[in-house]
């Protein structure tokens, strides 16, 4: 088993912070940790399904119409996801709203289909999908955690209507930095996090060079 395919998406090629794909849902649904986890789970499902299918069909799909074919496969999985979520998790479905349908145009999924699944074996494509999906979820959860803790003073781990797990951060829940919960906050947090990761990668590279 090739564990490299699994782990590369989590840090080295993290879809959010390093390759910078799939920004729209990242910024829009990162207001609550629970929304981020739900969105991440949705993306993992669609990415896994589409990567496996595209990898299976890679010898059948003609090259000239591959992009429309990929889009149809991806859109089918998104439709399945929408229907399942609507049936079993209405609150999450409403919270994610239009961004759930917009998974179709999430660049990560088409990007992985084009860059990986149409050249590699089914197993490798599945591992790649899980790695990339988990990396996306972790990045999204990180942004959501920062925005929710500082912007609202809470951490919503589960919010299913009947079952709620919400922690309050003492001191912050009375007077949160509300701007972080608003749309401007998403862009600011993203900018500072990206700067942090650029700085961190540069530092590691420098260290590696000196070690040589």
């Amino acid at each position: 088993m090739n564990t490299k395919e699994l782990t590369k998406g989590i840090f080295k090629e993290n879809p959010i912070f390093i390759i910078m794909l799939g920004m729209c849902p990242t910024l829009a649904v990162s207001t609550q940790v629970w929304n981020a986890i739900g969105m991440g789970a949705g993306v993992i499902f669609v990415l896994l399904g589409s990567n496996i299918f595209i990898s299976l069909l890679k010898n059948i799909i003609p090259d000239s119409i591959r992009i429309p074919s990929y889009i149809v496969i991806i859109a089918s999985f998104v439709t399945i996801l929408e229907m399942v979520m609507h049936a079993f998790m209405v609150d999450l479905y409403n919270a994610l709203g239009i961004y759930l349908s917009l998974i179709v145009v999430n660049c990560i999924i088409l990007g992985r289909a084009e860059a990986f699944a149409n050249k590699n074996s089914v197993l490798d494509s599945a591992l790649d999908a899980i790695g990339m999906g988990v990396g996306f979820t972790l990045g999204l959860t990180l942004i959501a955690a920062i925005r929710e803790i500082f912007g609202a003073g809470t951490i919503t781990l589960i919010n299913l209507g009947d079952i709620n797990v919400v922690f309050e951060v003492p001191g912050l829940s009375e007077s949160p930095i509300r701007v972080l919960a608003l749309s401007a906050g998403a862009l600011l947090v993203m900018g500072y996090l990206k700067a942090f990761f650029t700085w961190y990668t540069a530092k590691n590279e420098k260290k590696a060079k000196e070690a040589k």
Partner: protein, 197 residues
């Protein structure tokens, strides 16, 4: 909602980039100089306007009468992909100079969230055909405004000393965040106060 109300809503109050975050990828990718930003903006405005009408027609003409609403996502994305291809061919035939200016941006628009986004928003809000068309134009204009403003800002930022870790994308996000703060002045009360609801 009145037509002017829709126009103001999607240009200012619900600006697609700064408030709804739809179309962030081209916003970051193509905002390096104002010329290409204008090209991208015009191309997106054109496609959102046509796609709004086409998706509205597909939804109410094909899907709704046969109870196939669940096929909305898959049919809209196909309509948009076909439309972008068609627009590309028509522009290439009719106006080679316009094609030269927009050519490279057109294929990118298929995967622009803004186009699918406005098509779905039109249906969710129950707009009629003309309202959808106006909303499509307004969404495109809002996108154009944000991306052109950003491109001008970035041209200035090029000449400004910025800390090494912030060069490029991070500073663009932070500038966009500050722009979004300014846009918070436009909220839904603007529509009510102007009597456009």
């Amino acid at each position: 909602m009145s037509y002017i109300g829709i126009l103001v809503t999607y240009i200012f109050v619900n600006n697609f980039i700064l408030v709804k975050f739809m179309g962030i990828c081209p916003f970051i990718g193509v905002s390096k100089n104002s010329e290409s930003a204008i090209g991208m903006g015009v191309a997106v405005t054109f496609v959102t306007a046509v796609a709004s009408v086409a998706c509205w027609a597909v939804y109410y003409g094909l899907l709704a009468p046969f109870g196939l609403e669940y096929l909305r996502t898959i049919s809209f994305i196909l309509v948009i992909a076909a439309l972008v291809q068609l627009v590309e061919m028509v522009i290439r035939k009719m106006s080679p100079s316009l094609y030269k200016a927009l050519g490279i941006y057109l294929p990118l628009i298929t995967t622009n969230c803004a186009v699918l986004g406005i098509a779905i928003i039109n249906i969710d809000n129950g707009y009629n055909l003309l309202q959808s068309f106006v909303a499509g134009i307004a969404a495109g204009l809002g996108f154009t405004m944000a991306i052109v403003l950003m491109a001008n800002l970035r041209e200035k930022l090029e000449m400004t000393p910025v800390r090494k870790a912030f060069v490029g994308v991070p500073i663009t996000f932070i500038s966009a965040g500050i722009m979004a703060l300014a846009f918070m002045a436009f909220d839904s009360s603007l529509i009510t106060n102007l009597g456009l609801a």
